[in-house]
């Protein structure tokens, strides 16, 4: 086995396989990172940053869920009125 072939067995070179059903759950850690960075850009120090980031994280998740529900409702309405 060559050096490059050995390297191909490690992360960053050989892609990982994730189950199709797990795709949506990857949204949560990413949304938390977005919330942390956003709150950090508005913070004087790290005091209270975690609490603020959690509130922003919840806002993002609830907002995205509301948009998804509204889009689903619109989709169903279009199918109902224009079958």
């Amino acid at each position: 086995m060559s050096g490059w072939e050995l390297l191909a067995q490690v992360p960053f070179v050989h892609p990982l396989t994730i189950p199709p059903g797990a795709r949506m759950w990857f949204f949560l850690p990413l949304a938390f990172c977005v919330a942390v960075v956003y709150r950090a850009t508005r913070a004087r120090s790290t005091e209270g940053l975690l609490r603020g980031a959690l509130i922003t994280f919840l806002n993002i998740v609830v907002g995205m869920a509301a948009i998804a529900i509204a889009a689903y409702g619109l989709h169903q309405a279009v199918l109902y009125f224009w079958p």
Binding site: L7, A8, P15, P29, L30, C33
Partner: protein, 169 residues
């Protein structure tokens, strides 16, 4: 400006240079985690390739050192560079002129490095978001360097208060 360049090279480095060491650690963790997760899930061969997805690579360039290292790795692994990888996946260029047998042989050389749905989707979203988040961190580092460490939000509040005081006087 140095703070912005440092923040571009490594997430959080600009804030560290300005003396905000805890904030620097927060930026480093919150940007490195999604970037490295995306690169690990998708593999560098297809996710850090400017010849495959220009816009994705532009977003990834928000984190300079990681993208440079990933691009170097993508160019080196498997003995096929990034440009040729894109040609094989898109079946264009010199690859399209090869015989079917040679095309199959070239494809089999890169197939273990290529990510597919759903991994490719997740990897691209993570990498693009991490790169764009670091742009936010770069702008914040530049702003803090100009305002003596205050984030723009508080600096604007202080400026508005000073204007109101001037107006009242």
């Amino acid at each position: 400006m140095q703070a912005g360049i440092l923040a571009w090279i490594l997430p959080g480095a600009g804030h560290y240079w300005l003396g905000h060491k805890k904030l620097a650690a927060v930026f480093f963790a919150a940007i490195s985690l999604p970037y490295l997760t995306g690169a690990a899930i998708g593999g560098v061969k297809t996710t850090l390739n400017p010849f495959l997805n220009h816009w994705l690579f532009l977003a990834e360039l928000g984190v300079g050192s990681y993208t440079a290292a990933g691009f170097f790795l993508a160019n080196s692994v498997g003995g096929i560079d990034a440009r040729e990888t894109a040609a094989i996946i898109r079946r264009t260029g010199a690859f399209s002129a090869l015989s079917p047998e040679r095309q199959n042989a070239r494809e089999s050389q890169i197939v273990r490095y290529v990510s597919y749905y759903p991994s490719a989707d997740v990897a691209q979203i993570y990498l693009a978001v991490a790169g764009l988040l670091n742009l936010l961190a770069i702008l914040d580092a530049i702003a803090r360097a100009q305002t003596g460490g205050e984030p723009v939000f508080y600096h604007e509040l202080a400026t508005a208060a000073a204007r109101r005081a001037e107006g009242a006087a």
